[in-house]
């Protein structure tokens, strides 16, 4: 992906924006990029807890935008991987305190003057001011979508709004895919989602219990490695850097019941 300022967005809440931001940020840092992840969900800050950095928050995004702290003072360096920094949202202020023009200037400053290779912006749910501000500095977007009707519908709306803002490098992260349900015909497939939304997927993340376990522990999954979602996020980070990484076959071993079903002509 050419874009260096990327907004992670979805329209609908609860589809995995924050988890995706944390894992791709950490994944890119692991691959050698200097990355800032910024939480723009003012009032409902979460990226800090998902990354396990909540205990180190001193200053926040609004402090920086209003000049009470320098960007360097507010950025929290993640000690588990080199070159990963978090700029937390303010928990006490409301979205009105966000100034899109100042935010845009901050992101530009990080990229041009603080030596960051990439800035990932975790957008709040919705299509109002919070999203508009998060999208203001973006050159590209990762649209996180679950293979489920309400999420796909909201993603379509968000894609329209991104295009209206002239943000053109937009890619899908299809999250929480359940391969068994797909092969049974009870979940939209990657192909279905791509056909409906008309965007190319850059990540396909399977449903994985380890995501919740990592969040419980304040760890970032890609830094632990091993599980299916961790591998999928790491693949996605590589693709973001322009590497050609084939999508993994997520098909689970079908088991006896699946084998029987196949035998009788089901799928």
């Amino acid at each position: 992906m050419k874009a260096r300022a990327i907004v992670v967005t979805s329209g609908k809440g609860g589809v995995g924006k924050t988890t995706t931001t944390a894992n791709l940020g950490a994944g890119l840092a692991k691959l050698g990029e200097k990355v800032a992840v910024i939480d723009v969900d003012v009032g409902l800050r979460n990226l800090d807890v998902v990354m396990g950095l909540e205990g180190r928050v001193v200053f926040d995004l609004i402090d920086v935008l209003e000049g009470r702290a320098k960007p360097r003072q507010a950025l929290i360096r993640d000690k588990r991987v080199e070159n990963l920094y978090l700029l937390p949202a303010s928990q006490t202020r409301d979205k009105e305190a966000l100034d899109p023009a100042r935010f845009q200037e901050l992101v530009r400053h990080l990229l041009l003057e603080e030596g960051f290779d990439r800035v990932l912006i975790d957008s709040p749910a919705g299509i109002e001011k919070g999203f508009q501000t998060a999208a203001a500095p973006a050159e590209g977007a990762l649209v996180v979508v679950n293979p489920e009707v309400s999420s796909v519908r909201d993603a379509d709306r968000i894609i329209g709004l991104l295009e209206a803002r002239e943000i053109r490098e937009n890619l899908l992260v299809i999250n929480r895919l359940r391969p068994r349900m797909v092969s049974r015909g009870d979940m939209l497939s990657v192909e279905d989602v791509v056909e409906i939304l008309g965007l190319r997927p850059i990540g396909i993340i399977p449903e994985d219990e380890q995501v919740l376990i990592a969040t419980n522990q304040g760890e970032v999954l890609v830094l632990k490695g091993g599980s299916p979602a961790a591998l999928a996020y790491m693949d996605t980070a590589r693709r973001l850097r322009g590497e050609e990484v084939p999508f993994r076959n997520l098909e689970e071993a079908p088991g006896l019941l699946g084998a029987l079903r196949k035998l009788f002509g089901g799928r």
């Binding site: 489920e148 519908r153 279905d192 409906i196 009788f264 002509g265």
Partner: protein, 73 residues
């Protein structure tokens, strides 16, 4: 399972329809209202009937078009 319609097909059909309306910034209710208004206008010219009259969105390549199908008995 092979003996019932796959639920994802239903999901896909419903999504395509709802997105057609969303993208056109129309609601199904508005289209119904348009149909009633259209009927009123048509009746100024010839005796039109509601029966058989359909107004619906249709996908035509990249474009969405509004199709009115007006039977002239």
């Amino acid at each position: 399972m092979w003996w019932r319609k796959k639920s994802k097909e239903k999901a896909k059909e419903r999504l395509k329809l709802v997105l057609a309306y969303d993208r056109a910034r129309l609601s199904p209710g508005m289209v119904e209202k348009l149909k009633q208004d259209l009927l009123e206008v048509l009746r100024r010219y010839f005796p039109a009937q509601e029966e058989g009259l359909s107004v619906a969105l249709e996908e035509r390549g990249e474009k969405m078009v509004l199709i009115a199908d007006i039977p002239l008995r």
